[in-house]
C-alpha cells in the first residue's frame, strides 16, 4: 500500500536515523507531499530559526499517490525555511525521484543538523546510509548524478542533487532531480548546501500495492484520455511549455527590460517554434520527453547550437527561461536563451530568479545606480547577450562584488546597493516575480501578492482566467466542491470574482501538491483538466481511502493555512513591501505601453486591489491583517498547532 510508506528522520550532525510510520489520522488531515511537509515544517522549526543553521529542517517527499497507477504522480516536493525570503521555502519538481523514493520505502524525509564534511544520503529498500561526498563536491548537476550512479554501480539510481550554486549558498539555488527537472524558487538548494548535503540518492524495488488494481488501471485510461485529448496538452507535447511564453507575449503579458515594457517585440527567434526547429535539427523527430507516468511529454531535448558549449546535450527550456533570459534582459536570441538555460541547470540555479536579478541590475546600470566599476567592468546594458551569460557564472561562484551581492538575494542586495534600487525590484516577500506582467490581469496580480512562497505563479494563479470562458462554464468550475454564488467574470481585466478564483486555485494546487500529481494534469492551463472530483476517484481506487472531493478541498485549505501560520510566525505583515502581500509601486503607477489594444494603458487600481485582498482574506477566514480568526483555526482543527504528533 502507498500508506505503508514511512517517514525517516535524519540528523546530519549526529548521524542518528529514525524511521516511523505515518499515522493515518495525519494522512487524513494533510494527505501527503506538500501538505504533510507544511505540518512538519511548522512543527519541527521554531520562530526565527536561522535558515542556514542546523536547526532548520529540510523536508523531502512524494505525494500520497506517488508510484501508484495514477497518471503523472511524479512530483517531488522539498520544503524548509527559505534563506531567500525568510519564510516558507517550497519547491516541486518532476522527473523520477519521488517514485523511486516510494519504492525504496519512504514518502517523507526530515533532515536536520549539519554534516561536518560534504555527504550524500543513499536510500535503498528501507535502508539509509550517510556517505562521503568529497569526490562529488564541486561537480555540476549532471556530473554529480552520473558520478553517484558510477560509485553505486547502478545506472538506475535516481538522485536529488545540488550544483555549485547550492554549495556556494546562492540564496536561490535549486535542487535538481534530472538534467532540467528543477526544484526552483525559494532556494531549497541553498538549504541543502548549508547542511553540507550534496545529494540524496535512492533506489528501490519494494512493491506498492494498489487497493483496486483493475479498476484503478481502467479508470486511469479515462483520466489519460481526458488529459491527452486537450488542446493545451497536445500543444505542450509538440513544442513544450514555451508555447505559454509565446501566447503571453502575443497579447502583452510578458515583463520586458525588467519591468519597463510588457511585450518583447520582434522576438521571433525566441518563439517556441524556433526552439522546436533547433531541437529537430540537433536531436531529431523524437525530441520530446516525459516524466514518470506522464503522457504529455512536455520536456524538449536539444543540443546547444552555438557558443562555448556548442554540441552539449540539454533539456528545456521551460517558458520561464524564455522570459528570464529573453524578454527580461531583452536578449532576443534563442541560442542565448539555450546557453543560459544550460548553465543554470548545470549550476543548479533558479532560472527565474537568475534572469530577474540580472535584468534588475541591468536597469540599475542603465539608470546609473550601478557603475561599471561595481559591475566588475561588465557593460551591463539591456540586450547584451555576452554580459548576461557571463553574469550567470559570476553569480554562481560569487566572483566579484556585484555577483556576490546579487547571490545573497534581492532584498539584501537592494540594501547593499542602496540609492533607490529597491523601487525597481519586482518582488513579493523577497522573491522575484515570474516573467509575466500582471498589470492587465488583476486576478494574476492578486495571486502573486498572496502566494505563500513569495511572488509566484504556481501557488494560486487562475491561468484559465485568460481564456475568456463563458460565465456558465466558470460557474460550473468554481462552484465545486464547495458552493459559490458570488460574482464571476469572463473578462480578465476586471476585478469582480477574482478573489474567489484565486482562493479556489490556491486549494486546487495545494491538493495536487499533496497527491504528488503534476499541475499540467489539473486545472492550471486547461479548463477541462481533472480536479477534485477526479482525484477523489483516483485516491479511492489506488489507496482505498474514501476521500471525497470536499475532504480533499478541506485538507488543502488546512495545509495552506499552516503555510500562512508559518509566514506569520516569521513576521509577515500585510502591507510590508518586503515581507507582506503588497506589490511594487510600478504596478499601480506605470501603465502598460505595448500589446493588444485591450491591454494598452492598463495598470492595477490600488483601491480595487486592496479590496480584492480583503475579499480573498474573507474567503480564507482571515481578519483584515491576514491573520486567521480563532474560529477559522478551530474549524480547520489547527487551534492546537504545533501539535508535535509526527
Amino acid at each position: 500500500m502507498p500508506l505503508n510508506r514511512k517517514i525517516a528522520y535524519i540528523d546530519l550532525t549526529t548521524g542518528e536515523i529514525q524511521v516511523k510510520p505515518i499515522p493515518v489520522e495525519l494522512r487524513n488531515q494533510f494527505i501527503g507531499g506538500r501538505g504533510l511537509d507544511a505540518y512538519l515544517l511548522y512543527n519541527h522549526t521554531k520562530q526565527g530559526v536561522d535558515p542556514l543553521g542546523p536547526d532548520n529542517v529540510l523536508l523531502i517527499s512524494g505525494g500520497l499517490l506517488t508510484a501508484t497507477c495514477a497518471s503523472a504522480t511524479t512530483r517531488t516536493h522539498v520544503m524548509a525555511k527559505s534563506a531567500l525570503t525568510g519564510m516558507v521555502g517550497s519547491t516541486n519538481m518532476g522527473g523520477f525521484f519521488a517514485p523511486e523514493l516510494a519504492w525504496a520505502g519512504f514518502h517523507h524525509l526530515v533532515i536536520r543538523g549539519k554534516a561536518d564534511k560534504p555527504v550524500y544520503l543513499f536510500i535503498h529498500n528501507g535502508e539509509i546510509e550517510i556517505r562521503d561526498a568529497k569526490s562529488i563536491w564541486g561537480k555540476s548537476v549532471t556530473e554529480t548524478q552520473w558520478a553517484i550512479r558510477e560509485e553505486l554501480c547502478d545506472p538506475e539510481v535516481k538522485s536529488l542533487v545540488i550544483g555549485p550554486a547550492g554549495e556556494n549558498l546562492v540564496r536561490w539555488a535549486n535542487v535538481m532531480t534530472g538534467i532540467k527537472n528543477s526544484g526552483g524558487r525559494s532556494g531549497m538548494g541553498c538549504i541543502m548546501g548549508s547542511k553540507n548535503l550534496k545529494a540524496v540518492a535512492v533506489r528501490g524495488t519494494m512493491d506498492v500495492t494498489i487497493a483496486h488494481p483493475v479498476e484503478a488501471l481502467e479508470y486511469n485510461k479515462r483520466f489519460i484520455d481526458q488529459i491527452t485529448s486537450s488542446k493545451v496538452n497536445q500543444t505542450m507535447g509538440t513544442i513544450g511549455t514555451p508555447f505559454i511564453w509565446g501566447a503571453t507575449n502575443s497579447w502583452g503579458g510578458v515583463r520586458t527590460r525588467n519591468f519597463q515594457y510588457n511585450q518583447c517585440d520582434y522576438s521571433d527567434d525566441l518563439e517556441p517554434e524556433r526552439i522546436d526547429e533547433i531541437a529537430l535539427e540537433t536531436v531529431g523527430e523524437n525530441h520530446m520527453a516525459a516524466c514518470f507516468g506522464c503522457q504529455v511529454h512536455c520536456r524538449g531535448k536539444h543540443r546547444l547550437p552555438s557558443g562555448p558549449y556548442k554540441g552539449r546535450y540539454s533539456e528545456g527550456p521551460e517558458y520561464t527561461s524564455q522570459g528570464a533570459f529573453g524578454a527580461e534582459p531583452d536578449c532576443k536570441h534563442a541560442d542565448t536563451v539555450l546557453t543560459c538555460n544550460y548553465l543554470v541547470n548545470e549550476y543548479g540555479m533558479d532560472t527565474l530568479e537568475t534572469g530577474s536579478m540580472i535584468s534588475w541590475a541591468m536597469e540599475l546600470y542603465e539608470l546609473g545606480i550601478l557603475t561599471k566599476e561595481q559591475t566588475g567592468g561588465i557593460d551591463l546594458r539591456f540586450g547584451n547577450d555576452e554580459a548576461l551569460i557571463e553574469m550567470i557564472t559570476r553569480i554562481c561562484y560569487r566572483k566579484d562584488w556585484l555577483a556576490d551581492t546579487l547571490a545573497d538575494g534581492s532584498l539584501p542586495a537592494a540594501e547593499k546597493i542602496g540609492k533607490n534600487s529597491f523601487d525597481y525590484l519586482i518582488q513579493v516577500k523577497g522573491m522575484h516575480n515570474l516573467h509575466s506582467d500582471e498589470r492587465g490581469t488583476p486576478a494574476l496580480a492578486l495571486n502573486i501578492a498572496t502566494a505563500s512562497r513569495g511572488s509566484d505563479h504556481l501557488r494560486s494563479r487562475p491561468a484559465i482566467d485568460l481564456y475568456h470562458l463563458p460565465e456558465p462554464v466558470l460557474r460550473k468550475i468554481y462552484s465545486s466542491p464547495v458552493p459559490y454564488d458570488g460574482p464571476l467574470s469572463s473578462e480578465q481585466t476586471t476585478y469582480e470574482g477574482k478573489p474567489w478564483q484565486v482562493f479556489w486555485h490556491e486549494n486546487c494546487y495545494m491538493a495536487v501538491d499533496m497527491l504528488g500529481i503534476c499541475k499540467y494534469h489539473t486545472m492550471f492551463l486547461g479548463a477541462t483538466h481533472p480536479n477534485f472530483e477526479d482525484w477523489s476517484r483516483v485516491v479511492q481506487l489506488n489507496t482505498g481511502l474514501d476521500y471525497s472531493p470536499l475532504h480533499l478541498w478541506e485538507a488543502a485549505v488546512r495545509a495552506n493555512m499552516l503555510e500562512r501560520l508559518f509566514n506569520l510566525r516569521e513576521g509577515m505583515t500585510r502591507y510590508d513591501l518586503k515581507k507582506g502581500e503588497m506589490l511594487n509601486h510600478r504596478y499601480f503607477d506605470e501603465p502598460l505601453r505595448r500589446g493588444a489594444p485591450g491591454v494598452v494603458g492598463r495598470k492595477i487600481d490600488k483601491k480595487k486591489f486592496i479590496k480584492m485582498v480583503d475579499e480573498f482574506y474573507a474567503h480564507k477566514g482571515l481578519d483584515e491583517n491576514g491573520v486567521p480568526k480563532p474560529e477559522t483555526l478551530k474549524k480547520l482543527g489547527l487551534e492546537n498547532e504545533p501539535s508535535h504528533l509526527l
Partner: protein, 87 residues
C-alpha cells in the same frame, strides 16, 4: 466508492466545450474565435483587426505563433495616442 463511476466529473462534462480547429484572438477586449483555412500562415481578427502569425500543430490544429509585429504595434500606438489625447 465516494463517487459514481458512471457519472461525468465537472472537467469531463466540460469536454464538449472544446473548440478544435479554432484559435482565439489575444485581445482581451475582443477574444473572438478565428478559424484559419488549412495551412494559412497569417490571420486577421474580424472583430478587432489584430493580425497574427499562425503555426500548425497538426494540419487540423492551428495556434497563434505571435503577432504580425508592424500591424499590432501600430494598433497599440494608436490606442496610446488616443489615451494621451483623452487626458
Amino acid at each position: 466508492m465516494v463517487t459514481d463511476e458512471k457519472t461525468l466529473s465537472t472537467s469531463e462534462s466540460l469536454r464538449e466545450t472544446r473548440t478544435y480547429g479554432q484559435c482565439r484572438c489575444h485581445n482581451p477586449s475582443c477574444m473572438g474565435r478565428m478559424r484559419p483555412d488549412p495551412g494559412q500562415q497569417q490571420v486577421k481578427c474580424p472583430g478587432c483587426g489584430m493580425e497574427y502569425r499562425v503555426h500548425w500543430i497538426r494540419p487540423d490544429f492551428p495556434r497563434i505563433r505571435g503577432p504580425v509585429w508592424d500591424a499590432n504595434l501600430k494598433l497599440a500606438e494608436e490606442v496610446l495616442k488616443k489615451q494621451k489625447e483623452g487626458k
